[in-house]
Amino acid sequence: MSRTLKVSREFSAEPAGRFRTDGPNSGERFREELLIPALKKVEGKLVVDMNDLEGYGSSFLEEAFGGLIRSEFTPKQLHDKLEILADDPALAQEVWSYIDNNRSR
């Protein structure tokens, strides 16, 4: 069964910054507190709804999604399990570029 994680409601409508030390709504915090637990728990697809955000910067996106590759996931696992929902196609494309072009640790 799939689950939808709406970023603006479950995390923040103003995601920004890379590391926890950068500020309150960082990519690192989003990945560790919401994204990884949701990916591990979901049985079907995890749909990450990126709509209704004030905006987004590459530092947040890269750390949140590119960081998955540096921690414990492979691009293939994420293509199987993750879906990015965004009205702006460039946003989804950017997220996948961080996953596909990231070098794992």
């Binding site: 103003e14 920004a16 910054g17 950068d22 004030e54 905006g55 590459s58």
Partner: protein, 351 residues
Amino acid sequence: MKRLSADQKRRQLIHAKKLERRRLGARRGKRRRRFSPRTPYDGPKTRDQIKIDLPAVLSLEDNYDGVMAFFQRFRYAALIDKKKIYVDFRLLRKVHSNAALMLAAELDRWRRFRGIPLRARQLEQWQPEVRRLLNEMGLFELLDVANKPRPAKSQADLNYIKFQTHNLVEGNLATQLRFALEEHAGKITTKQFLFGGLTEAMTNVVHHAYPDDGEFAYPPIRNQWWMAGSVNSSEKRLTVIFFDHGVGIPTTLPATYTLEKIKEVLSTLGLIDTDASRIKAAMELGRTATRQQNRGRGLLNIRRFVDKSRKGQLKIFSGHGEYAYSSDGQEKTTTHKIPIGGTLIQWTIYP
């Protein structure tokens, strides 16, 4: 001599302390009265105080050298020599939000280092329009000035957004700035790119601008940034400015990319190694970094607000360099004699 009992000694000591407290209290009282807000200010009180005049035109576009000569003099006197100084605003006639933000940041740094509140002097002799603009920008609030002027009626077509400052990546402050701009400019349809640009600028400050081993010409407030904005409703133009006192992009670039890579890009662009060309190279490296590296895209986010608007311009002043980028793709670099003392990013947008 009569020998005092322990109790008598204790009473005498208490009495002596009381007298001393009264004496000091009277002195403090005098000092308090001298600086009381009720006392009208009539000029400098001490002979060793240095008066530094603001230039008539406080704008990086119209008077870069004059503005920077002021800041150079102020910074040296306030932060290196640590002299008693006061800044004379009476000659000031024209204010642009970019240099006004720099002034606010400079006075904010000075105020924090001094640890005592600032007072506005000879307010009644300032140009009324200058007083109004600086008041509308929130200069007196930012600096916690006790005797701030009353708000004056604003011009219909030019509105200023209050200064904001922080030392973290605070997305909510970017949203607040957007709301304030929209009050005068109407809905900003490219708001996500404004947010992205501002929060990436904040992230760059926190990650790169104030390195622990950085060599600063003047002591900084670590990780601190300032931002402001303005709306010209008759020209349908909005301006957003972001500033920090960090070491600057030309200095931090080698921390993100190797010197060989920087030189390779400069060579490809046909540029010699200057601060201005390094800012341009940083843009180019951000653009080409998307597939090879996971960092370095921050400047691209900063430029995107211009790219996604109907018409606009991005200016970045850092070190001695100035880089300008227009929405039609034109780029221009300029080298200045006096460094800006940080990095200033300015978006001028016709949404």
